[in-house]
């Protein structure tokens, strides 16, 4: 487990409002006959930083991938920013342009430069003029501290740099919610920190974040809520302090003892 931030996390901008960002009610999903997600109920308020933990195969990635319809749910409802996810393509595209996502394997477009990766969606989805989109992109690339790589191709960057570009690419769409699907799992230990630092900064600015991760240091310092999933259901959720120091469910205790034990 990597130690986080060399500095104190600034919590002054991290405010959770009463406004609901995502409302998931009785959501169920099956892969064929296999019941992957069972009766998921979750309300995310604007400004929340939620870390979702759990053993592999517990359905945590599948759950956040349902929020922007990379996976389809078969029962229950998901409402994002007041728009209900249905099979209506217009709704799906609208939600996707409001919700940013970062993947475990970055998924940058290898045939485009870093700058082009960042301006693609703003230009073609938001219809922003090219010049303005490039200015925005440079702004966010500076924020993730790699403006000098703007004209290189993804293949020329290290894993950590690529993941930071992926974050910048999502931010260029000015999303109101960010989803992270194990953003540091494919990285060398040395690079994990630079990506987590970027995510901490994002949290400090008040972004609503849902993060599937095994970085418990990040969860402790940044999250306002930790959700523990097992066998397709939410087993326990609590404030990080309570969650780590005083887990209640047997499964949570076992999980924590295994990942914190060494």
């Amino acid at each position: 487990m990597s130690e986080l931030a060399t500095r104190e996390v600034d919590r002054s901008q991290m405010k959770v409002s009463d406004e609901v960002a995502i409302q998931i009610t009785k959501m169920n999903k099956w892969y064929g006959t296999f019941h992957v997600l069972r009766d998921i109920d979750l309300t995310v308020y604007r400004g929340e930083r939620i870390v979702i933990a759990g053993p592999s195969g517990s359905g945590k990635s599948t759950m956040i991938r349902c929020i922007n319809r990379l996976e389809e749910h078969q029962a229950g409802s998901i409402v994002v920013d007041g728009i209900e996810l249905s099979s209506d393509l217009k709704n799906i595209d609208k939600i996707r342009s409001e919700v940013g996502m970062c993947f475990q394997h970055f998924n940058l477009f290898p045939h485009l430069t870093i700058l082009e990766n960042c301006t693609l969606a703003p230009i073609w989805v938001r219809k922003i003029p090219k010049k303005q989109a490039e200015e925005t992109a440079m702004h966010f690339l500076e924020k993730v501290k790699i403006p000098e790589q703007a004209h290189k191709y993804p293949g020329q960057l290290s894993g950590g740099q690529q993941q930071r570009v992926a974050i910048a690419r999502s931010l260029c769409m000015k999303p109101r919610i960010m989803l992270f699907d194990e953003p540091t799992s494919a990285l060398d230990p040395e690079m994990i920190k630079e990506v987590l630092d970027t995510m901490v900064e994002l949290a400090e600015e008040g972004m609503t974040m849902l993060c599937v991760t095994h970085e418990m240091g990040f969860a402790r310092q940044v999250a306002n809520r930790v959700i523990f999933m097992d066998a397709g259901q939410i087993v326990e959720q609590n404030e990080p302090e309570e969650f780590f120091n005083n887990p209640r469910h047997e499964r949570t205790k076992l999980f924590l003892s295994q990942i914190l034990g060494h």
């Binding site: 319809r69 990379l70 996707r96 342009s97 998924n107 477009f109 290898p110 045939h111 693609l120 191709y153």
Partner: protein, 438 residues
């Protein structure tokens, strides 16, 4: 462990070593020859045997080709000249058949005084493909590429200029529907209208309209019938049209085969499997014979046009499978990342998926194109005079009865030049894209 190694293990370098040249027998040509030609007794033997084979072939071929006679008006005269120069029984080529008949091999029976038209058309064609093939050419030249098909058609077939202009109007109508009507009536309806309205226009209005315009202002070139065209003119027209049309069609079929929509998916699969599963020659006979039964009586559907359609459909099926391979090679994450950014299906295909899939498919696509171009010689079986067909008709004259090799060598060389340049272009493109994307 004792401390006996203390003196030998600890080490501090006090002088740095300078760079030296490698031993002489380890560099350059000497090393290459040693390693690749004479590395062991078996290789020495094989090298010598290969050298002997190369010598045996060239020692017969080169004298035959180089002794060749270039000026004679028929085969008998040519043989007399050979006998006179080198003695009777010496083998030598009669290249004179080419000096005499090359215009026919290239243009077929196109009227002699109008040769400038296909030549000009070829130059325009080169100018039109340049911006498509090379990104260094100014982008504005793409307008030439867009208009070239109509101009080329007019130059080669002649007739009234109003025909091509009226045909362009159909595309303008389609474009206008997509840009101006789409926001009001929705994309799907607009796309359907943009296909149906121009089709209706081409089938019903286009002909009378161009006739009417032509009767007011003629603006016409002498018309040349398809039957007059032959040789490489014919092969190039069929080959190039097939290549240009089959790429977009093949890409659409590949996307169709990947589609979740049941009917589109099954239609693409059926189309690809049926077209691919039947020999091209059967499709060509279908084009030349059967279509006449199916088409309404009185419709005069040009034979060359029918052949182009068949060749296009045939190679589109192959292209579709090649492109499908490229699509399948992309990691699923690329599709997901494009989706997650809110790009719709067509945008994600055009901007993210296809550029990468096509790059992977370049060797396969060019392979199919080369095959298509060589397959144009098959049209000889349905009575079109491709270069091979013309070589038979040249042999059928009393002057050149009995000439085989010279004509085939020439035709083979011409095809080789076309196909080899396509292969080289494919390599160039691959290298360029690899440099760009890594």
């Amino acid at each position: 462990m004792s401390d006996t190694h203390a003196q030998t293990v600890a080490f501090v370098r006090d002088t740095m070593l300078d760079q030296k040249d490698p031993p002489l027998n380890q560099v350059g040509a000497v090393k290459w020859i040693r390693e690749n030609l004479f590395s062991g007794w078996l290789n020495i033997l094989l090298t010598l045997a290969s050298l002997w084979v190369v010598y045996a072939v060239l020692s017969h071929l080169l004298p035959w080709a180089l002794r060749g006679v270039w000026d004679a008006s028929n085969l008998t005269q040519c043989r007399e000249i050979i006998a006179e120069r080198y003695g009777a029984g010496t083998s030598a080529a009669c290249w004179a058949v080419l000096t005499e008949r090359w215009p026919q091999l290239i243009f077929g029976f196109y009227p002699k005084e109008l040769y400038w038209r296909p030549i000009l058309a070829f130059l325009i064609f080169l100018a039109a493909v340049a911006p498509v093939l090379f990104s260094a050419v100014p982008r504005k030249m793409l307008w030439v590429s867009a208009l070239a098909p109509f101009v080329l058609f007019w130059l080669i077939w002649g007739g009234s200029l109003w025909g091509p202009i009226a045909a362009i109007l159909g595309f303008v109508i389609g474009w206008a529907i997509l840009t101006f009507a789409a926001p009001k009536i929705g994309t799907l309806l607009a796309v359907i209208l943009a296909i149906v309205v121009p089709l209706f226009y081409w089938l019903v209005i286009c002909g009378p309209l161009s006739d009417a315009l032509a009767s007011v202002v003629p603006l016409s070139l002498r018309a040349v019938a398809t039957q007059k065209m032959g040789g490489f003119l014919l092969a190039t027209i069929i080959g190039v049209s097939g290549i240009v049309l089959s790429l977009p069609l093949g890409i659409l079929l590949a996307l169709g085969r990947q589609s979740d929509m049941f009917i589109i998916n099954k239609f693409s699969v059926a189309f690809i499997e049926i077209i691919r599963g039947v020999p091209l020659i059967v499709w060509l006979f279908t084009a030349s014979l059967l279509l006449n039964y199916f088409l309404p009586p009185g419709t005069n559907f040009d034979l060359m046009l029918r052949v182009i359609i068949m060749v296009t459909l045939f190679s589109a099926a192959y292209i579709a499978e090649v492109v499908r391979g490229g699509l399948a090679a992309l990691p699923k994450g690329q599709y997901e990342a494009a989706d997650a950014l809110g790009l719709d299906y067509w945008k994600s295909m055009r901007l993210v998926i296809l550029p990468q899939a096509l790059k992977i498919s370049i060797p396969g696509i060019v392979n199919t194109f080369i095959g298509l171009f060589k397959d144009t010689t098959l049209v000889v079986f349905i009575g079109l005079l491709d270069p091979i067909g013309l070589s038979s008709s040249i042999r059928a004259t009393t002057d050149w009865n009995g000439v085989y090799w010279e004509l085939f060598v020439f035709i083979g060389l011409c095809f080789f030049v076309f196909c080899f340049s396509m292969g080289r272009y494919s390599l160039f493109l691959e290298k360029k894209l690899r440099r760009e994307h890594r």
